[in-house]
C-alpha cells in the first residue's frame, strides 16, 4: 500500500502539465440537497470560468441556477442560485485528459415551500466545498474540453448539498 501511495505522489509531482490557459464554459447536471432524510434533486445549469497556470494550479468561479424543481414529502424545492469559488490543482494523465481536484466555498440559495404554503421560502446555505473533475480535451479541437465534475458542500446545519455536472469549456 505504501508503495502505491509513493508512486501516486511521484506521479502527481512529475506528470506533465500544459501551459497556462483561461477557460469559459457551460455546465448542466443534477444537484442533491439532503435534509431530514429527504433528497431533493433539481436539474441545474450554469457557467464556469477560471484560469490555470502552467504548474496546474488554478482558480474557478462557478455559477448555477435551477432548471427544474423537485418535490419530496409535499415540499417543493428549487435552486435559485449556487455560486462557488475554488482553488484547483489539475494533472494531465494522458495526452488530453486531466484529473482536477479543488477546494473552495459555496453559497447556495434555495426556494422551498410545503403544500404550496410559501414556507419556508428562501434559504441560504454557505460552507466549504470540495470539487473533483475529469476533463478531456477534444482531439479535433484542443480548445474545447469536456468536463465531468462532482462537488460537495458542507454548510452548517443538517443540510448537505452536492452536485454532479457535465460541462463544455472553451480554453484560450
Amino acid at each position: 500500500m505504501q508503495l502505491w501511495r509513493w508512486l501516486g505522489i511521484c506521479w502527481v509531482l512529475t506528470a506533465p502539465t500544459v501551459g497556462a490557459e483561461s477557460f469559459l464554459g457551460i455546465t448542466s447536471g443534477m444537484m442533491f440537497i439532503d435534509n431530514n432524510g429527504e433528497t431533493f434533486k433539481p436539474v441545474i445549469g450554469g457557467i464556469s470560468t477560471g484560469y490555470f497556470n502552467d504548474t496546474g494550479v488554478g482558480v474557478e468561479l462557478a455559477l448555477a441556477t435551477g432548471i427544474t424543481s423537485d418535490e419530496q414529502s409535499g415540499v417543493e424545492t428549487e435552486l435559485d442560485l449556487h455560486v462557488g469559488g475554488y482553488l484547483h490543482y489539475r494533472q494531465l494523465f494522458n495526452n488530453r485528459a486531466y484529473l482536477t481536484l479543488g477546494v473552495g466555498y459555496t453559497v447556495t440559495e434555495l426556494d422551498s415551500q410545503v403544500n404550496n404554503s410559501g414556507f419556508p421560502a428562501s434559504q441560504s446555505y454557505r460552507g466549504a466545498a470540495f470539487k473533483a473533475g475529469l476533463e478531456e480535451r477534444l482531439k479535433s479541437n484542443p480548445n474545447i474540453l469536456l468536463k465531468l465534475t462532482y462537488q460537495h458542500s458542507y454548510p452548517e446545519g443538517d443540510t448537505s448539498i452536492s452536485s454532479a455536472q457535465f460541462g463544455v469549456l472553451y480554453a484560450f
Binding site: A20, E21, S22, L24, N35, N36, G37, E38, T49, G50, Y51, F52, N53, V59, E60, L61, Q72, S73, G74, V75, T77, V83, G85, Y86, L87, G104, Y105, V107, L110, S112, Q113, V114, N115, S117, G118, F119, P120, Q123, S124, Y125, R126, G127, P155, E156, G157, D158, T159, F172
Partner: protein
C-alpha cells in the same frame, strides 16, 4: 476575447473577492427546511391548542400540560405537542417547555398571557390568565356515586378563589377515611370492596367537605383472561386481566386496578400488582385474583427449555446440488415442542459434523450440497446445532 493572462488574473481576483465576501458568516436555514419536511410528511393543514378541562385560569407557580392537536388533510388528528414550537408571551408570565408544559410565573395580581404553537407556516394560540387570588373553598365530586365495588370512577374538584373565580383543581391530596374500602390513584377513585366511606381533598390549609361514597356489594364473579391450567415459559411475561361480572349481569372488562393478585409459589413465578406474570423456574403455582370479597384462582405451569430439536421440513433426503432450510425448535420440560423457529437466531451455532467436504451450512441453518458428490464415500451427512448449552444433530440421507 481578452488575453489569457488578463482573464486569468480577473478570475483569481473574482474568486478571492468571493471568498472574502462570503467569509465565515451565513444564515443557516436547515432547521426551517427540516420543519417543512416534517409538516409535509404528516400533511398537516390545521393546528390547534387544547387544554384539559378547557382550563385557562392559573395560579402562580402552577404547572399545566397543553396539547397541540394537528389535523391532516384527510381529517385524521394526532398529538403534535412534541413536534411544534411552543412560546409563551409575555416571557415574564412564566415558561413553557418544548412539549407544552406551562409553568406559571409568580405574578402579583392578574396577568394575561398567550400560549402559541408554530409548525412551519401553521400557528395557533390560546389566551390564559394567571391570577394570585387565594383558594378559599374546594368542592369535590365523583363521576359515579354510588359506585359498584371493584370499579373505578374519576374524581374532580373545583376551587373557589378570593377574586370570585372558580377553577378546576388537579394537584390535590385526596383522603379516604377507610383505606380498606377504597383508594385514590391519580384522581381516580378505586372501590376495593363494598361499604360506605368518606372522601375529602385538601391543598395547603384548605380542605373540602367530606363526600360520602357508597360502594355497593354487586360483584357476582371474577373472570380471568386465562383459563386453568395455563402454561407460561421461564423468562417470558404473560399478562392476565380480570373481568368483573356484576349482579345486574353487566361486565366490566378490566377490574385489575381494584384486584389484588397473589401467588402460591414465588420460586416458580412472580406476579405484579397489575397482573403481569413472569415465569422464574419450571414448576406449578396458583395465582389468585381477589376483589370485593370474591376470588378466582388460576393454575399456572411454568415450563423451561430442556433441549433443542433440528427439523427437516421435508424427508431427511437431499440430492446433489440441493439447498434446504432447516428449522430449529426448543423442547420444553412438559415434553412440548416450541412453535417459534429459532434457526436464524444469532445465538444458534450451525455446523456440518459429517460430510463437510460436500456440504455447507449458513448461519441461518440453510444446507447446501455440492453438485458433484460422486466421490463422497458415506451415504449421509450429519448436521449439528447448538443453542444455550443444548445440542442436537440431524442425519440427512443422500439420494443416489
Amino acid at each position: 476575447m481578452p488575453s489569457n493572462s488578463v482573464l486569468g488574473k480577473l478570475s483569481a481576483v473574482a474568486v478571492i473577492c468571493f471568498w472574502i465576501l462570503v467569509g465565515c458568516e451565513g444564515e443557516q436555514d436547515s432547521e426551517r427546511l427540516a420543519e417543512a419536511i416534517d409538516l409535509g410528511r404528516e400533511n398537516v393543514v390545521v393546528l390547534e391548542i387544547s387544554s384539559d378541562q378547557e382550563k385557562v385560569l392559573f395560579e402562580p407557580g402552577e404547572v399545566w400540560q397543553f396539547t397541540a392537536n394537528a389535523t391532516r388533510e384527510d381529517g385524521t388528528q394526532f398529538d403534535a405537542s412534541n413536534m411544534v414550537k411552543w412560546k409563551l408571551t409575555p416571557a415574564d408570565a412564566g415558561s413553557i417547555s418544548d412539549v407544552g408544559v406551562l409553568t406559571a410565573a409568580d405574578v402579583s395580581g392578574e396577568q394575561v398571557a398567550s400560549v402559541t404553537v408554530e409548525w412551519a407556516q401553521l400557528h395557533a394560540s390560546s389566551d390564559i390568565t394567571i391570577s394570585d387570588a387565594e383558594l378559599i373553598v374546594i368542592a369535590i365530586s365523583a363521576a359515579s356515586n354510588p359506585l359498584a365495588e371493584c370499579l373505578t370512577t374519576p374524581l374532580s374538584a373545583v376551587g373557589q378563589y378570593t377574586d370570585g373565580s372558580e377553577r378546576v383543581l388537579t394537584d390535590l391530596t385526596w383522603l379516604v377515611d377507610s383505606p380498606d374500602l377504597a383508594r385514590v390513584d391519580d384522581s381516580d377513585l378505586i372501590a376495593l370492596t363494598s361499604g360506605t366511606f368518606n372522601l375529602s381533598a385538601s391543598r395547603g390549609d384548605v380542605t373540602s367537605e367530606s363526600l360520602p361514597i357508597v360502594a355497593t356489594d354487586s360483584l357476582a364473579a371474577i373472570n380471568l383472561s386465562e383459563t386453568s391450567p395455563v402454561t407460561a415459559k421461564v423468562d417470558e411475561l404473560l399478562q392476565i386481566s380480570a373481568t368483573g361480572i356484576f349482579s345486574d349481569s353487566s361486565e366490566t372488562p378490566d377490574i385489575g386496578a381494584a384486584t389484588n393478585w397473589s401467588n402460591s409459589n414465588t420460586s416458580v413465578l412472580s406476579i405484579s400488582d397489575d397482573g403481569e406474570l413472569l415465569g422464574i423456574a419450571a414448576g406449578d403455582a396458583t395465582v389468585t385474583a381477589t376483589c370485593g370479597g370474591l376470588e378466582e384462582m388460576l393454575l399456572v405451569t411454568v415450563i423451561d427449555v430442556t433441549d433443542i430439536r433440528i427439523v427437516d421440513p421435508e424427508d431427511n433426503d437431499m440430492a446433489a446440488g440441493e439447498t434446504r432450510q432447516l428449522e430449529l425448535y426448543k423442547e420444553f420440560s412438559d415434553g412440548s415442542l416450541g412453535t417459534d423457529d429459532i434457526a436464524d437466531d444469532s445465538d444458534v451455532i450451525w455446523d456440518i459434523e459429517t460430510g463437510e467436504e460436500i456440504a455447507s451450512i449458513s448461519e441461518d441453518g440453510e444446507v447446501t450440497l455440492a453438485s458433484d458428490i460422486s466421490n463422497y464415500e458415506d451415504s449421509f451427512i450429519r448436521i449439528f446445532a447448538e443453542f444455550d448449552d443444548f445440542e442436537d444433530t440431524l442425519t440427512i440421507r443422500l439420494d443416489d
